[in-house]
């Protein structure tokens, strides 16, 4: 029988803009997100949070809260078993449940303002809030440290007295806030700098930014007397939530059933547990369902932003524009517990370029801030912002067009990546070419306007994935995936399943199954869900087609070589075609009972072969020299998608990532007072871009197929947030002649720089 997949099956839905199957529910208000779930008899949980950025918790007295009528349960550190200091590798960044349990509920110390200290479940929200005020926490306030460079000083207030810098020889004998030092070395940078005719060295600073999903964290837990748990939560990975809750609450995974609700944005921030273990422990005590929802202030103060950082970059190039060496030193904030994305930041820094000698040193530094969580291409926007800014300066120094310079040094198939291995087919050059060819690139600008370009890289991942396809009696197909759909996954997977089985796409009903309905799925993240999910569907469909061919052979008393699968039907070949008619999927479904029972397939894979995605962004902006205000005038994204399963949702990823990057570059930041408290824990003063802040975001879909995927797919979700920071800084330089090295480039900073140079007038 012939190997079949989308390509040979004559695809016609993949690559088209089908209507998403979950769409109607989402435009009618019917779709149920985290906070939309309720259970009979449910209680309302609220969390008491530390007002101090750093304090020893001497005692917690919950007796008055417990005595309040309507309060059914109170939990504190005493209710969570401590976890051994056992390092679990996640990349080279080691995660440690000893930290995890402390982030979920503070133990010895409160390590940041907003750190959970206790939680209450009561019959009403009002009573729960009142009960929180009755909990007496006796704090010994300690000196705090917020800034990453200050935290690295030997005399800085120490967050953890058992934290010794890893990655340095000999092992330090004194604890510090530097959790880890890492290093990536390729070639010999000193030799590289010797070959350079021009060397540019600069230091950059970026502020921590929040993922900013509009839906706050929410969880509803119900624990029964026999210890079985039902949990509804808004998460990027319900199988991951199950694993964490089993560990933190001391339960068997098999007893926990987690349902992922519709998720109102995640961007990495919902790969972590905050409320879930607390809701479970409260419900376990109260023997009633407990619903918990964070306020927006809690989301900002207690859920993960990504790192702010200090980055030093030094690059060398020859007179004719060949990069000879790149050095970078990255100091990333981890928040209160170790584990910043400095590792990927280090690996991505020089990834877009064919550059022989690279040396990157990274530091993972703790300070009295909320623990960082993943955010879209974690670590990469920060290090690539610094490198792409310096690349622009080199272009200016050498008088070479910045796109041309990038083209001359661009990584291409066979290039040895700056983090080691060789690249397969990649699309960086194509994105640079399409930008160069764009009408946008060739439009003139006026005074105080500037144009900037930058490229970006992200690895993308595959990973464990289970998807099931079931033929219903009427020939319709039930598709079950286990990775939460955040941006149109169900639409993309339905198209693939329809093409694989040759059925109309509206006959495919995709749902996201709970942890009891499917095998393990790693979370929606790393730009993996469409990549891995579509691979698993091809596998599941293959099982179905093999089964149908076998059944046809039985039914027609034919040999496998007398039949073929083509365009959604098993077709008799040669003489047999005279005797019997082709049978479609629907034909088999009708009589499946007679032919051996229900028909279905399950793709269980550990997806490998994720193809990196490169992008290049082009931005025009205008600066008001009298106020330092920046207006984005025009924006174009070109990115390699490998193959766009659903072009509209791929474009949506490009556009959304670009606008998040615009916010990061211009206005978003965590602002702390001297007291170590967050001053802008709300949408009013956190300042994410609104509709009137941004122009159209034009997109160019580059498709250099990923040879390791049956449809050529690459992950696309993360790369789009990498280039904007540098593209905008480069455009600012083009508009004002000033190189901005600190983010955000907010009006007070920009005006100050203009004033220092006497440029703050219209003429």
């Amino acid at each position: 029988m012939a190997e079949t997949n989308g390509q040979t099956n004559g695809t016609h839905y993949v690559g088209t803009r089908t209507i998403r199957p979950d769409g109607v529910d989402k435009v009618t208000g019917r779709a149920r997100f985290g906070a939309d779930y309720n259970l009979p008899g449910q209680l309302f949980g609220r969390v008491l949070r530390s007002p101090h950025p750093h304090a020893r918790i001497l005692s917690i007295d919950t007796s008055r809260a417990e005595a309040l009528p309507g309060v059914k349960a109170v939990v504190t550190r005493a209710d969570f078993a401590d976890q051994p200091s056992e390092f679990i590798p996640a990349g080279e960044m080691m995660m440690n449940y000893k930290d995890v349990v402390r982030n979920v509920m503070a133990r010895e110390k409160a390590l940041y303002e907003g750190h959970a200290v206790a939680a209450v479940a009561a019959t009403s929200v009002a009573i729960a809030r009142k009960a929180l005020r009755l909990i007496e926490v006796n704090y010994e306030v300690l000196p705090h440290v917020i800034d990453v460079v200050e935290a690295m000083r030997p005399d800085a207030p120490l967050l953890h007295d058992d934290l010794f810098t890893a990655g340095v020889e000999p092992k330090p004998d004194k604890p510090s806030n530097i959790a880890k030092r890492l290093e990536i070395k390729v070639g010999d940078v000193e030799a590289g700098f010797k070959k350079a005719d021009v060397i540019v060295e600069r230091e950059f600073k970026t502020a921590p930014v929040h993922q900013g999903y509009i839906e706050p964290h929410a969880a509803l837990a119900s624990v029964s007397e026999d210890g079985s748990v039902e949990l509804w939560t808004t998460t990027q990975g319900h199988f991951i939530v199950r694993a964490h809750c089993a560990r933190l609450c001391g339960l068997d995974m098999g007893k926990i059933r987690v349902t992922a609700t519709e998720i109102g944005g995640g961007f990495g921030g919902k790969t972590v547990v905050y409320l879930e273990p607390v809701a479970i422990m409260l419900s376990k005590k109260a023997k009633r369902p407990v619903k918990m929802v964070m306020s927006r202030e809690e989301v900002f103060k207690a859920s993960g932003p990504t790192s702010g950082a200090t980055v030093r970059v030094k690059m060398g190039a020859t007179r004719d524009g060949k990069f000879t060496a790149g050095f970078a030193e990255l100091k990333y904030q981890a928040g209160a517990f170790q584990g910043s994305p400095v590792q990927p930041g280090a690996m991505c820094a020089y990834a877009p370029y064919d550059i022989e000698n690279v040396h990157v040193i990274g530091y993972d530094v703790v300070s009295n801030r909320p623990k960082v969580a993943a955010y879209r291409a974690p670590g990469a926007p920060i290090s690539e912002f610094a490198v792409e800014s310096v690349v622009d300066e080199i272009a200016k120094k050498l008088g070479i067009d910045p796109v041309q310079l990038r083209m001359m040094n661009a990584a291409r198939e066979g290039t040895k990546a700056a983090y080691g291995p060789k690249f397969g087919p990649i699309g960086l050059e194509e994105t640079l070419n399409s930008i160069k060819k764009s009408e946008h690139w060739n439009t003139p600008l006026r005074k105080w306007q500037g144009r900037g370009v930058a490229s970006g890289f992200w690895f993308n991942i595959g990973g464990e994935t289970t998807v099931s396809l079931t033929l219903n009696e009427d020939g319709t197909v039930s598709l079950m995936a286990g990775t939460p759909d955040i941006g149109g996954l169900r639409a993309a997977l339905a198209s693939v399943a329809a093409d694989e089985l040759g059925v109309p796409v509206e006959k495919v009903r995709p749902i996201i199954g709970d942890t009891g309905s499917l095998g393990f799925n790693f979370l929606t993240g790393g730009s993996r869900s469409a990549f891995s999910g579509s691979m698993a569907i091809v596998e599941a469909a293959k099982q179905i087609k093999t089964e149908l061919i076998a059944r046809a052979c039985k039914l027609w008393e034919a040999k496998p070589e007398q039949v073929e699968w083509k365009d959604g039907a098993v077709r008799p070949l040669g003489a047999l075609a005279e005797k019997v008619k082709p049978m479609t999927v629907a034909d088999f479904a009708k009589i499946s009972g007679k032919l051996g029972g229900p028909i279905g397939g399950v793709g269980r894979i550990n997806a490998q072969g994720a193809g990196p995605s490169f992008g290049t962004h082009l931005v025009d902006l205008e600066v008001d020299p009298e106020t330092g205000r920046t207006t984005i005038l025009r924006y174009t994204v070109a990115q390699d998608a490998g193959r766009a399963l659903h072009p509209a949702y791929v474009e949506g990823q490009f556009q959304g990532g670009a606008v998040q990057g615009i916010g990061w570059a211009l206005n978003e930041e965590y602002i702390y007072g001297e007291d170590g408290r967050l001053q802008n824990a709300g949408f009013l003063d956190y300042r994410m871009p609104v509709a009137s802040d941004v122009p159209r975001i034009d997109t160019v879909l580059v498709e250099v197929p990923n040879p390791r995927h049956p449809y050529g797919v690459r992950g696309v979700g993360e790369t789009p947030i990498v280039p904007p920071l540098a593209a905008i800084a480069n455009a600012m330089e083009n508009a004002t002649g000033i190189r901005f090295t600190e983010l955000p480039m907010s009006p007070p900073k920009v005006l100050k720089a203009l004033q220092e140079r006497g440029l703050n007038t219209r003429d």
Partner: protein
Amino acid sequence: MARVVLIGNLAQLTGGVAELQLPATSVKHLFHLLAEAHPALAPHLEEGVAVAIDGQIYQDSLFEPIRPDSEVFILPQIAGGRGQVLHSDIVGM
């Protein structure tokens, strides 16, 4: 003999050795040989590393074949598997 290169801090666990020649036939075999040569590496190999064979990155995938002329890089893992990991390192979106 496959050319095996250790990227990043892993070299610290081998006393600075960053490149080896090993007759590995699969990732599983490679890990076995590496652990023999450098016991300090052992705990990091089963979980926590990615393996790039001739440019293609593999994770948690013990049976991938390695050819005698293969170029193999041992990299930091690009994402935590199985969810024993709370904040997996490179998981955005």
